[in-house]
């Protein structure tokens, strides 16, 4: 399941909702937060812009791909948009499977792919004004690793 929303989410409640029945023995999760920085390198708030419609389409494709690759009992992706302060949750991925390997790998896959194929853009508030975050080559490499390991 995927959800794109401005509101915060409750990680514990979402995970609890995924272990109700059957054969779930492993829940893996990833939560991305707005970093606050340390000492002199304090980071301000950021605003997440997205492409409504395409975001849903891409996240649904990514989820379907993960379910093809691993035997998942359940899968949830939540991504927020709008203005977020340091410490706030941006994104969450939860995967549920019978065994841990599938849950852990699928979770890493989902966040790696989401980083490079979900249409979100971060605008950071800095001391010198606003600045769009640049994409990192390491994110492309992380996603390509999964393409090679298909």
């Amino acid at each position: 399941m995927i959800r794109i929303q401005a509101e915060d989410f409750d990680v514990g409640a979402e995970m609890a909702a995924m272990n109700g029945d059957g054969d779930v023995g492993a829940l893996a999760s990833f939560v991305g937060l707005v970093r606050g920085g340390k000492g002199d390198e304090k980071i301000g708030a950021m605003t997440l812009e997205h492409y409504p419609g395409m975001t849903e389409k891409k996240l649904a494709q990514i989820e379907a791909e993960a379910r093809t690759r691993w035997p998942l009992e359940d899968c949830l992706i939540i991504h927020r948009f709008g203005r977020l302060e340091p410490g706030e949750r941006i994104v969450m991925v939860i995967t549920a499977s019978s065994h841990r390997q599938a849950a852990l790998e699928a979770c890493a896959f989902l966040i790696d792919w989401l980083k490079t194929s979900a249409p979100f853009w971060k605008l950071e508030e800095r001391s010198g004004g606003e600045e769009w975050v640049e994409a990192r080559a390491s994110d492309d490499q992380a996603a390509e690793k999964w393409a090679a390991n298909k």
């Binding site: 812009e49 492409y51 991504h79 941006i90 989401l114 194929s117 853009w121 605008l123 994409a135």
Partner: protein
């Protein structure tokens, strides 16, 4: 054709979206970019370095050789930075 701009492309072009009639001789994304750049300095600045521009046609990523029709939804934006 519906055109959508995001992030700094939206800021440089000055609008979030617009409806255009696709010229007869514009058959691909690459030709669309060339045509857009002729429409003013904002477009020219936004599309000056295509290494940092990505494209979607009908909400799927597409390359410059992707064919276009007037009913497509085309989006132009920087490499994504979510997650």
């Amino acid at each position: 054709m519906k055109l959508l701009y995001f992030a700094w492309l939206k800021q440089k072009i000055g609008i979030a979206e617009e409806d255009i009639t696709l010229p007869d001789d514009v058959a691909t994304l690459g030709a669309l970019v060339t045509w857009l750049k002729s429409r003013g300095p904002g477009y020219e600045e936004a599309l000056g370095d295509l290494a940092v521009v990505r494209f979607a046609v009908n909400q799927d990523f597409a390359g410059l050789d992707h064919p276009l029709s007037d009913s497509d939804e085309v989006a132009l934006f920087p490499p994504v930075t979510g997650g």
